[in-house]
């Protein structure tokens, strides 16, 4: 790690193919700023992404990265971190990736509380497949596959996380770049699983959950008397389904990451040229 890392060091020379105005530009810039700000550099950082517009992020950032299969980014990130706890691991995905196909992994990643951050670019629609309902789409949101709306309430990912025992739950808005970067930075600095749901508008397919909508409705928790360490307060805020909040909703400051509880300290990549010392004892056990 070097102290003179700039956030642009995390930028690759590949030009993003996101639509002009896509919220993911701001989301990614904030992630890069937060990584640089927390003293990381591309060589000690591992970014895992899933499928969809959000999944392209690994290509546009410069770090060790894996662009995986749909919905499975979190377990990859967990494996990376467990095998080398010295790495900074960040997982990025979209609302379909994280709350639909990968919902099971989301709950279990939260429970496991591995020290990593998870940034979800929530645009409440499937963009790359050209505009179908996502798990966070509104009940009456009309799309090609749901002409009368999904007819079911959207997933509340913050509530899922809280119920699963999350130690850090935050929400940000990609357009408010300074606040967004700060929130992601707090997620990185959190000792455990730092979950950030980012409102990252889709300018092409979602004409309801727009920049204007979020700008008009979002409330910054820093401007309220919200106490993020108070779980009951967090629960109340999270269950207010008609409100949009920005900031840290909940943080357990006593959180102990999984790998620390399990005593995983050293990277697992250094192994001897032959069987480890004492391996013959493994055989003698079978006498």
């Amino acid at each position: 790690m070097s102290s003179d890392v700039r956030f642009t060091d995390f930028k690759s020379d590949k030009q993003p193919t996101w639509c002009p105005g896509c919220g993911d530009f701001g989301t990614m810039n904030g992630m890069m700023k937060a990584l640089a700000e927390t003293g990381n550099d591309p060589d000690n950082t591992f970014v895992v992404a899933g499928i969809g517009c959000s999944g392209k992020i690994g290509t546009y950032m410069h770090s060790y990265a894996l662009h995986g299969v749909h919905g499975r980014a979190l377990p990859v990130g967990i494996g990376v971190k467990m095998a080398n706890p010295e790495l900074e691991v960040m997982v990025a995905g979209g609302d379909g990736d994280g709350y639909s196909i990968g919902a099971g992994h989301f709950i279990h990643a939260v429970r496991r509380n591995v020290d990593m951050s998870y940034v979800v670019m929530d645009n409440r629609i499937y963009g790359l497949t050209k505009g179908q309902a996502s798990p966070t789409s509104r009940q009456d949101f009309e799309t090609a596959t749901t002409p009368e709306g999904p007819g079911q309430p959207p997933v509340n990912p913050k509530a899922l996380a809280l119920a699963a025992g999350a130690t850090f739950i935050a929400q940000s808005f990609s357009s408010n770049s300074q606040r967004h970067a700060e929130i992601v930075q707090q997620a990185i600095e959190h000792d455990g699983f730092g979950f950030v749901n980012v409102y990252s508008p889709c300018v092409t397919f979602n004409d309801v959950d727009t920049y204007d909508y979020f700008r008009d409705t979002i409330v910054d928790l820093d401007e309220t008397d919200h106490d993020a360490q108070n779980r009951d307060q967090a629960k109340d805020k999270i269950l207010e389904s008609d409100k949009e909040y920005m900031g840290v909703l909940y943080q357990d400051e006593d959180s102990v990451p999984f790998e620390e509880r399990e005593g995983i300290e050293a990277p697992m990549n250094d192994i001897p040229d032959g069987a480890p010392e004492g391996a013959m004892d493994l055989v003698r056990e079978f006498y």
């Binding site: 690759s12 000690n44 770090s63 995986g68 494996g79 990376v80 995983i264 391996a279």
Partner: protein, 591 residues
Amino acid sequence: MPDDLNWAIGGEAGDGIDSTGKIFAQALSRAGRHVFTSKDFASRIRGGYTAYKVRTAVDRVESVVDRLDILIALTERTIHENEDELHDDSVIIYDGERTTMQDVEVPGDATALEVPLKRLAEDAGGAIMLNVVALGAACEVTNFPIENLDESLQKRFGDKGEAIVENNKKAARKGRDYVREEYDEEFGYELETTDADYVLLNGDEAIGMGAIAGGCRFYAGYPITPATDVMEYMTGRVDQFGGKVVQAEDELAAINMALGAARAGARSMTATSGPGIDLMTETFGLVATSETPLVICDVMRSGPSTGMPTKQEQGDLNMTLYGGHGEIPRFVLAPTTISECFWKTVEAFNLAEKYQTPVYLVSDLALAVTEQTFSPETFDMDEVEIERGKVVDENDIDAWLDEKGRFQAHFPAADGISPRAFPGTTDGAHMTTGLEHDELGRRTEDTEVRVEQVDKRQRKVETAKEEEDFDYREFGDADADTLVISWGSNEGAMREALGFLDEDGHDVRFISVPYIFPRPDLTEEVESADDVIVVECNATGQFADVIEHDVLERVERINKYTGVRFKADELADEIKQTLAGDAGTQEVEAE
């Protein structure tokens, strides 16, 4: 009486059948006798019929046979289940004071020894020890020194306290003395002891041990019969060597965690059975395309779907060989014995890392649940070699950076193998993806780059065929007209079958193949035999199909994989070139 003895204990699941059988098997092993065990069990926790069978001899035993000499029957059903294997000299030990066992029908002239197991156990300190009373009785019937059983009881109950061990020893003696006093006769059995030094383990344990010895430090899995013992074995043990076992939420998570750990530089593995492989197959493609070394162990059971979870089958060969969409370079290894479960696991990790590909390690239920004796040197840890392949560090990474200083993790090297930089390596930062990508790991649809990367990945297989020895093992008469080929756990039974065939005047050459892909070319062997028989535990002969395929005459091929469809003029040209014999460019060049 031959020294080769077949012994079994049977009852209901939950009766302690497994642990009792294992105590006896370990006693025999520690007494310097060879042991080969097998289990009959159903997919339930309590109730139903379950049995643990032990075949033992001073000489090595490699299989089960249809003969039962001593049977401890805790339920009447146990006798009926084994009726066909009993003979006139068989001895059945049962508790006649149990209400269900009072009118036991004994088949043929077999001897039924009524021993009040439960009452004697109570005398020794508790009814729970009735199985041990039966073991003591079996010692008397087989003239096996009860002191050898003591060591085994010590091992089983030692951590429960000396009092428990002593009570069990007392219970065993109650059983022995009862038979000695009530049945003053010789049963014709004698279990001779020797000074030999053996260890007793099953195939799943051998895979777990091979993994740890072979440098595996991360294991993620989801419980499934019959692969779970691999995970149970590694849990707690791999930690001692700086590793970790994680029980994932499902098979999808398991393989993805293992993939993440492998990319972080750990030797990494997951093990499952057929249904789990189904779930893992999508990620398997990602593992191959991202060129990540990973060992995926499939302990086969009867399929399809949930099939018969506790029964043997070798039905997954096609899936491991062809599973996944697109074309995926891979290795498929299939150990044929329990000791090979160890060595092939070590080899699987070396192949995975040398060639940066997924390796299927295909075992089966028969290997997984069978315990067998080996001399400890069979697993000589000094023989374990670890080859990590083209791993680069700060000192030599410069050679692999492009003109802009970017690490070429998918460089299309002549041997198909790119450099590998563990995360944390200075200047090594790079991405990879399941999308087709260029040498930097960035997505591409460029037809030339596509062809280059497909060829590069396929070249690994060619390189491996040149560098590795994908050989077979041979038994029987090398000049025989009859050739039998098998894979997986059939080797032991087939080797013993050679003896029976020989007695009947049949000369047979037997080839056992532990490599499914790449595999040895058996064309010459097949063509030089009059009769060729492929033995496998499945309905359609999946291995027979690939052997037949291998000996077929080759057709000329025109292939295109640029991502663009065939065009008429291009096809006409290609066919003309092929007919003219200059088929050097069998695949259509990228435009």
